[in-house]
């Protein structure tokens, strides 16, 4: 056993797969310890808030201000307010006023403003420019002046008696707030989803559920497959015929279709994550059965098995001691593949709207499903679907890597 383990961990593919998988599992275990919020809790009012740190604006007004003199603060402020169209318009004016076009870069705010300040003159009449357009530039220039003004923004409160605004304070342009002083802030590394739920918290919880679905489905499928394979391979004869009849049939009938029919028939209300896992498990035992049967048939007439039979050992004992140890590596590899395909099957079902019910637990498939329903992929809300796809791919990739690594260890023909 120790030797086998050392061999297995000597395979680089297995180790890489194992490390990725262990990292994902650790994330699922450790993350909830630090972030104790409800995975399905709706925190955002609105859909798809982009990733970032959200700081309470009301609290920042009340916090102690610090004055920092930073050079390019005004330019940065302008850059965030100046639209692309306004930049291009400015460029148009400057070009029309005789500045060489290659010297103007609309993306470089500081330089653009400098050129604008030094060249723009409302009195200049650019040849060929209509009056309305000229007025537009006057307004644009004036609005820039507004943003660039150095006066403070005034904070006022409504006086209930006189119904007038009374100044209570002001915020200078050079005022800064230390983010540690702001009591209310929330880090949303992956933003929020269409319901306003924290995507990262939801994702971690979804990975947990999806892994659970994969493991439950994989164990069921492997148990059924192993049992049927042993019956068909070891007992043979009529039992073999019956098992193979159904196995061959279910190999050809698409599993996907069976999953759709069964999940649809169960109905939305009864579909929990475990139910889905059981359904997937009961529809995907075919491959394991075939593989185990083939292995057992090749083992059935080996000398050590015959010797065990001659010694009068019971069938159960022969299977347990003389057959199972030889196919154990095979069964483990089959289990790994079952887990990975079950996770994919759940995702596929959920996209069709036949996954576990939404209000219960998040799963990777359900997150995909809602992102698709809200067209996140077309509208550019990458944080709603990309992390999910990457996670699905990573989980399945790590399991497949572990599988090929094991294959290389236990299958001499594939060794390097």
């Amino acid at each position: 056993m120790k030797h086998t383990l050392r061999q297995v961990f000597g395979s680089p593919r297995f180790v890489v797969g194992f490390v990725i998988f262990a990292f994902i599992v650790l994330l699922v275990i450790i993350y909830p310890i630090f972030v104790r919020s409800e995975p399905l809790g709706i925190i955002g009012q609105g859909t798809f808030f982009p990733p970032g740190i959200y700081v309470n604006a009301y609290d920042t007004v009340g916090s102690e201000p610090y004055t920092l003199k930073l050079d390019n603060a005004a330019a940065k402020r302008l850059a965030s307010r100046l639209s692309d169209q306004q930049r291009l318009d400015k460029k148009d004016w400057l070009v029309a006023a005789g500045i060489p076009e290659n010297e103007i870069d609309p993306a470089n705010t500081e330089k653009l403003l400098e050129q604008w300040e030094s060249n723009y003159d409302p009195a200049v009449i650019v040849p060929g420019m209509i009056n309305a357009r000229r007025n537009y530039f006057v307004r644009l220039n004036a609005s820039l002046g507004g943003i660039l003004a150095t006066e403070a923004a005034i904070i006022a409160e409504m006086n209930a008696e006189t119904n007038t605004l009374e100044e209570t304070g002001s915020v200078d342009q050079t005022d800064y707030v230390n983010i540690n002083d702001v009591p209310n802030k929330r880090l949303l590394p992956l933003g929020t989803d269409n319901f306003g739920r924290d995507v990262l918290t939801e994702l971690v919880s979804a990975i947990g559920t999806s892994l659970l679905i994969g493991i439950v489905a994989g164990l069921i499928a492997t148990t059924i497959g192993l049992t049927l394979g042993l019956i068909a391979g070891y007992i043979g004869g009529f039992a073999d015929d019956i098992v193979m009849f159904f196995t061959n049939m279910f190999t050809v009938i698409p599993t996907f279709v069976l999953l759709i029919l069964i999940s649809y028939s169960i109905g939305q209300e009864q579909r929990g994550a475990v139910t889905i896992a059981v359904v997937i498990g009961f529809t995907s035992w075919v491959w394991t059965t075939r593989a185990v049967r083939a292995q057992v048939i090749s083992l059935r007439n080996r000398d050590h098995v015959n010797l065990s039979k001659l010694s009068g050992h019971s069938t159960g004992r022969i299977i347990l001691l003389s057959i199972l140890p030889y196919i154990a590596s095979y069964v483990v590899m089959a289990l790994i593949l079952q887990i990975s395909s079950a996770i994919l099957a759940e995702a596929g079902l959920s996209i069709l709207g036949l996954g576990p019910k939404t209000t219960d637990v998040p799963t990777l498939g359900l997150m995909m499903n809602w992102a698709m329903i809200y067209q996140a992929q077309v509208l550019g809300y990458w944080w709603a679907y990309l992390p999910v796809i990457i996670t699905i791919a990573l989980v399945s990739f790590s399991l497949n890597l572990m599988n090929t690594g094991l294959d290389q260890v236990f299958n001499p023909a594939l060794r390097e």
Partner: protein
């Protein structure tokens, strides 16, 4: 020749038995499950209705329509009789359009998308697999993990990635549909071009997924073959590598064909979900809208058609295999 007939005859009988079984499952599963589909439909139709007797009347009306109040055996014969007349019933969601009409318009989109994609993906994947086994070294070190990663992605994942990069980001291809919605299907060049453009992303997302899986399988097969005696002997004989690779490819291809026959169901299932991402007007999108609108007759008919398509494909591959595999040829000529 007689032997061939026996081989194909056996396959035909087998495929018919499987179809009957699949057909029974398609009929029985929804009826055996605890949920009552008619109750679900009634609930949907009668939302907001107050009178209890009204709801009851609707329920009985639907029971009559689907024959769920008759004994199971009668229902079954009624179902078979209707199917033999090509009558799949009437769709709920697109009432009063017959289900067969909806299927007729979507089935060709799926066939034309998936069949070429599976063939192209299979060929490219196998060539890459043999190359990986033959060249080993650096090429193999890169190609293998990439293949494993590509085959780890679900088809819909690949579809979304291609969609985001090439349709949304670069704007080279349209994001959804089978052709420009502003066009009326006709045999004009503009329409064919539009279909072609809409075809690319769904097609390549399916192809890329299949390439990964096939390349991995073919690599293992080819490594087995490359270690075999005939390859070593050919090398001693001084036969050129290119020629040996051709033999290796031919020998390693046989199990890959069987593998394709066995995996076709899974591939089709994945590809149907990929269709949904692009709202491609095929069976995948049909079944999605059927599920969303609880259109029971449409779901049942679509699953039946998908099963039939997979069975026919499997059968075709097995027939081809009979012609290609020299062992079967040898066995039949005795």
């Amino acid at each position: 020749m007689k032997g061939y007939f026996r081989y194909f005859g056996g396959k035909v009988v087998w495929i018919i038995i499987t179809f009957i079984f699949a057909f029974l499952l398609n009929f029985m599963l929804p009826r055996l499950m605890p949920g009552d589909p008619v109750a679900v439909i009634t609930q949907r139709v009668t939302t907001g209705m107050q009178s209890q007797s009204g709801i009851q009347a609707v329920y009985e009306e639907y029971q009559e329509l689907f024959g769920t109040n008759k004994p199971m055996l009668t229902q079954f014969f009624l179902y078979v009789k209707n199917l033999l007349h090509g009558d799949f019933g009437t769709s709920f969601s697109q009432y009063p359009r017959p289900v067969s009409d909806i299927l007729r318009s979507s089935i060709w989109w799926t066939v034309m998308l998936q069949l070429p994609a599976i063939i192209v993906g299979w060929v490219i994947g196998n060539v890459l697999g043999v190359l990986a086994a033959y060249l080993r070294g650096g090429y193999d070190k890169v190609a293998m993990p990439v293949s494993i990663f590509a085959s780890s992605l679900p088809a819909f994942g690949m579809a979304i990635i291609l969609l985001v990069i090439f349709a949304v980001g670069l704007d080279w291809f349209p994001t959804s549909g089978g052709y420009d919605v502003a066009m009326i299907p006709s045999l004009s060049w503009a329409f064919i071009w539009s279909v072609f453009i809409h075809y690319q992303l769904p097609f390549w997302s399916i192809v890329l997924i299949i390439i990964g899986g096939q390349a991995i399988g073919m690599r293992s097969m080819a490594i087995y073959e490359l270690n075999s005696d005939y390859v070593k002997y050919s090398r001693f004989m001084g036969i050129r590598d290119r020629r040996i690779i051709l033999y290796v490819f031919r020998n390693a291809m046989l199990p890959q064909i069987t593998g394709l026959a066995l995996a076709i169901g899974t591939i089709v299932g994945g590809a149907l979900v990929a269709e949904i991402i692009f709202s491609y007007p095929g069976l995948g999108t049909t079944i999605l809208s059927a599920i969303r609108s609880q259109d029971y007759p449409l779901i049942s008919a679509t699953t039946l058609i998908i099963t039939l398509m997979v069975l026919i494909t499997t059968f075709t591959i097995e027939v081809l295999y009979g012609f290609i595999d020299p062992r079967i040829k040898a066995a039949q000529s005795d």
